[in-house]
């Protein structure tokens, strides 16, 4: 392995990373998987919430509005600790750290997805609902076959950005000891004292993942545009 000596006496040894590329890949996979799960639940929560929000019934729309403000105003780090230690304590449930992380991401993400779905639903012409209702579809069927398919195209690009935000947020999971790539890097740093190599590896992996998903969102956005 090539060694480079710098005047600060820090010896670079990239074999720490290259010898463990498989572990880093597995760690990165945990980040992506948790982000995907959190994002999936965030979408379900957000869609339900957006339908309440746009219902025009104050009893539903006001709590839904407050929910969005709350979820968007609380830092992810606070959310993680609140769920894993606080809520678990109060309810007497022992979440695994993995579950706690997915819940935290889902809640934080749902604040954003609600607003995205709301904008998407609002963008659909009112006449669509009226027309579908007047030909005999009930509300549920109208949403299922008329409103949601149209709203889908509008919400894809911003949802993609939310997913990327959640992926970045997922790198916090090592604070409650979910073994992701940051957890691995921290462990290697403590045992081998190679902070520069391991954290550079983490940074590079994260940049590559984020740019990959950004490109994917961009392509999807273009595809949907052509279709319309």
């Amino acid at each position: 392995m090539a060694m480079i000596f710098l005047d600060a006496q820090y010896t670079l040894d990239w074999s720490v990373v290259t010898d463990r590329w498989r572990q880093f890949a597995e760690g990165a996979w945990v980040d992506v998987w948790v982000a995907v799960l959190g994002f999936g639940f965030a979408c379900l929560l957000g869609l339900a919430n957006a339908i309440l929000r746009t219902s025009g019934v104050n009893l539903f729309s006001i709590p839904s509005f407050l929910y969005v403000q709350l979820m968007r105003g609380v830092p992810l780090y606070v959310m993680i600790l609140w769920i894993y230690f606080g809520v678990a304590n109060v309810l007497g449930i022992n979440f695994t750290s993995f579950q706690a992380m997915v819940i935290a991401l889902a809640l934080t993400g749902s604040g954003y997805t609600t607003e995205i779905f709301r904008a998407g639903l609002n963008a659909i012409d009112k006449g669509q609902m009226e027309a579908a209702r007047s030909i005999g579809l009930n509300r549920l069927l109208t949403y299922r076959h008329v409103i949601l398919p149209q709203a889908f195209r509008i919400v894809v690009p911003p949802l993609g950005n939310t997913f990327i935000g959640l992926l970045k947020g997922a790198t916090l999971m090592s604070v409650i000891a979910v073994p992701d790539m940051v957890f691995l890097a921290n462990e290697l740093n403590v045992t081998l004292f190679t902070p520069f190599e391991v954290f550079t590896a983490v940074a590079v992996i994260l940049v590559v993942l984020v740019l990959f998903f950004s490109a994917l969102v961009y392509l999807l956005e273009r595809r949907l545009q052509i279709a319309t």
């Binding site: 609380v74 970045k168 940051v182 890097a185 740093n189 983490v202 994260l206 940049v207």
Partner: protein
């Protein structure tokens, strides 16, 4: 199955810890304000580099893409442990936190500035140039004052993200709101009460800043009504 009622809340621990909250909030505000100011300046420079034609512009583009892609926690670990060890720097956690927040947010702010500058009608630039103003004077006296009005609400909104992200600096031992709270939690063993209080405090700060942004937007657009 254990029920919710088996837990007895004790909110008095919050009242007993007011001084710790105050200390933590002061540090949080200091970090966020410094980071805001630095990233406002750095963001503008990056935006100008990014809009320069040719290879220089590519550097700006790469900066924005890469620096936006990292999470604050990864930044902090990379800078506080990685970069510091490589160069033999004795970085204090506060500086590492501010540098991390600045690098991350400057990339976002560069995009806000760029969008605002590009929103200004090219005719403004042409008119100023034809009146005999130089490139720099045109930008400083004609384009930027108008772009600034467009950018300001979004820039202030970015401040809400800085506030929220700043909570992560507790992980390298900066004595911010989260750090103080975690200390108090280990003292009283009352995670729910403390983290709920933290959530409320962050939420309050974010709502105040967001309100400020929307008022600013209203104020800056008054001539358009």
């Amino acid at each position: 199955m254990r029920l919710l009622l088996t837990y007895t809340f004790d909110w008095s621990v919050i009242g007993k810890s007011i001084q710790f909250f105050e200390r933590g909030i002061t540090v949080t505000l200091r970090i966020t304000v410094f980071s805001l100011v630095f990233s406002l300046v750095l963001g503008l420079i990056v935006a100008l580099v990014r809009m320069t034609p040719g290879p220089v512009g590519l550097i700006g583009f790469a900066y924005v893409q890469v620096f936006r892609a990292l999470s604050l926690y990864v930044y902090i670990l990379f800078i506080y442990f990685g970069v510091a060890a490589l160069f033999g720097l004795n970085l204090d956690p506060l500086t590492a936190g501010i540098v991390s927040l600045t690098l991350l947010n400057s990339a976002y702010m560069a995009e806000i500035y760029r969008a605002a500058i590009q929103a200004i009608d090219p005719g403004q630039h042409e008119a100023a140039r034809s009146l005999g103003l130089g490139h720099i004077s045109t930008f400083a006296n004609v384009v930027f004052p108008q772009a600034w009005r467009i950018a300001l609400p979004s820039l202030v909104n970015q401040f809400t993200d800085i506030i929220k992200d700043s909570s992560v600096v507790a992980l390298i031992g900066v004595g911010d709101l989260m750090y103080e709270s975690i200390e108090r939690v280990s003292f009283y063993q009352r995670p729910f009460e403390f983290y709920t209080a933290d959530a409320a405090i962050y939420l309050t700060m974010v709502v105040i800043v967001a309100q400020l942004a929307s008022r600013l937007e209203h104020h800056l657009r008054r001539h358009l009504r």
